[in-house]
């Protein structure tokens, strides 16, 4: 079992020219910020390194940080411009019983993150869900389609905080 600091140390030694930014001053769970283009490489290392051996991806959650600039669109609805979106990865090693939280921050207007499906198959549907509900594009994902919403849903990404529900979908009234 490795502590958070030891894991950060191992990562920093191996990825000397990548920005590995540990955040341990938060209240509950410390995490490491990884650039979105590097996340698949870092994850592959974390899985295959014999000291770390993070063999399972427990959870992958996308979050709309909603920290940009609030502006009004043509209809007078408040929408967000700029800002960031995050993807959190909860990793766990069943063999060594240690856990790790990674965070990837990407631009809200054009969210692109590298997929980790090649590392853990379990991320496949999690990433599809993040694409479906937040519009985050995962590069190199084998099958990036909508998963929960209908395939022909064209009214945006519902879990974004400034999402506006449509009036009608296929002739059915949506609001109450």
């Amino acid at each position: 079992m490795k502590s958070f600091e030891e894991i950060v140390e191992i990562l920093k030694n191996y990825f000397s020219d990548t920005s590995i930014e540990p955040k341990s001053d938060v209240k509950f769970e410390p995490y490491i910020i990884i650039p979105p283009q590097e996340i698949d490489k870092v994850c592959l290392f974390l899985r295959d390194n014999s000291e770390l051996y993070f063999d399972s991806l427990v959870n992958l959650s996308a979050v709309d940080d909603f920290n940009g600039q609030k502006i009004k669109d043509e209809q007078g609805n408040e929408i967000m411009q700029g800002g960031t979106m995050s993807v959190y990865y909860h990793l766990e090693s069943i063999k060594y019983r240690h856990k790790l939280l990674l965070r990837v921050i990407t631009e809200r207007d054009n969210p692109v993150v590298n997929s980790v499906t090649s590392v853990w198959n379990s991320s496949n549907w999690h990433e599809r869900e993040a694409f479906d509900l937040f519009g985050i594009k995962f590069l190199n994902h084998p099958d990036l389609r909508r998963i929960l919403m209908p395939y022909d849903w064209e009214f945006g990404y519902p879990l974004r905080k400034d999402y506006q529900n449509p009036e009608f979908y296929q002739g059915m009234k949506v609001p109450y």
């Binding site: 769970e29 063999d55 399972s56 991806l57 959650s61 069943i94 198959n121 549907w125 879990l159």
Partner: protein, 371 residues
């Protein structure tokens, strides 16, 4: 002479008696052999995560009930543990004990449905009726506790909505006493039934490596031979005070990790749950169950990942608080959602009829898959 062959696409669901809800499977067949399975989900997407962002912390609890509606107590427990971690509340001992009793009763009820419907899917209808008879008794216990049969809103942040009914302990003891022979009866009826074994043993074998890489948890992972149970391995509530085993698949009737193993792990788990309930009831401490419920729930800024061992696997809540009275974001790691991904892997190379046997052994609840 050459015969022209082509693959056929067969659609199964969303209205199909054995898809356990509104799941749609797109099967690609080569004759009767399955070459590919594509699950289509989302027919029950009820926007749970959006509701979390607009509801206050206690108001979310009824919505958690409606995710895995067969294990509502477990869902509440996971969410409540997360919020309590954020608030740093210590709940009274009695509350923890009652929570464990409820979660374990719920596990039995949930496994009974899983086993009953599994039998019905494969063609044995009688076990279904037997299982529902016993489940009905557990629901009666829930009903005298909180008034609801299926969705309870019983476990609250910092406590419980009601204390136990004065008769609860007696009735639970009676239930345990009468359920044990019923379980043996069920084993004779279904578990060791020749036809049942022929339909399930050596079908849908899940190797351990694959299971871990696909993030499979719960009885499915244990059936593949790994002793991994969050009640012991990442213990929460007061589970560390009780003595119980973690049953794993041993390949008694076929290979380790086949459908029969996944079924049998659930049967054994019910016995273990009975053990926990017996111990908890014997040592149930006194106290006030509502004393630690906070008047105002406003956690500090931060994020927490709480997880519990639900009947279907690891249920996780990733809760982000922005310091207001409602969560900023709640992401649910639903066990069925993750477990269902493996359908393609399990079904490939099997016959069409085996899809039902495999899907039943995965034991999904669509409310949780789609949330």
């Amino acid at each position: 002479m050459s015969v022209r062959t082509e693959e056929m696409v067969l659609n199964m669901g969303p209205q199909h008696p054995s898809t356990h809800g509104v799941l749609r499977l797109e099967l690609t067949l080569d004759g009767e052999i399955i070459t590919k399975v594509v699950p289509h989900i989302g027919y029950l997407h009820r926007c749970f995560e959006k509701h979390c962002e607009v509801m206050s912390y206690p108001q979310v609890i009824p919505y958690t009930d409606r995710m895995d509606y067969l294990a509502a107590m477990g869902n509440e427990l996971g969410y409540v543990i997360g919020v309590e971690k954020l608030l740093r509340i210590q709940v009274p001992e009695r509350v923890e004990y009652i929570r464990v009793i409820m979660a374990e009763l719920q596990r039995i009820a949930s496994h009974l449905v899983a086993i009953g419907t599994y039998g019905a899917d494969i063609g044995a209808f009688t076990p279904f009726l037997y299982c529902f008879r016993d489940r009905e008794r557990i629901l009666n216990l829930f009903e005298i506790t909180c008034g609801a049969r299926l969705l309870y809103n019983y476990i609250w942040v910092g406590g419980l909505s009601h204390d136990l009914h004065p008769d609860f302990v007696r009735l639970t003891k009676e239930f345990i006493k009468e359920f044990k022979p019923n379980l043996r009866e069920l084993n004779n009826l279904l578990t060791y039934n020749k036809i049942f074994i022929d339909r399930t043993a050596n079908v849908g074998i899940l190797p351990l490596e694959t299971a871990i890489n696909f993030g499979v948890t719960g009885p499915m992972l244990r059936a593949s031979g790994l002793k991994w149970d969050l009640r012991k391995d990442d213990t929460y509530s007061v589970y560390n005070k009780f003595d119980f085993d973690i049953p794993i698949g041993e390949g008694k009737m076929g290979t380790v990790g086949d459908s029969w193993d996944r079924y049998y792990v659930r049967v054994l788990e019910m016995e273990e749950s009975l053990k926990i309930i017996e111990q908890a009831i014997e040592t149930l401490p006194d106290g006030d169950v509502t004393s630690a419920i906070p008047k105002k729930i406003k956690p500090p800024v931060g994020h927490v990942y709480s997880r519990v061992e639900n009947p279907r696997g690891e249920l996780g809540y990733f809760i982000i608080s922005d310091g207001s009275t409602s969560p900023f974001r709640v992401k649910v790691r639903a066990p069925s959602f993750v477990n269902l991904q493996i359908m393609d892997e399990l079904c490939r190379g099997h016959l069409v009829a085996d899809v039902i046997a495999i899907l039943g052994s995965v034991d999904i609840v669509l409310g949780e898959v789609d949330r």
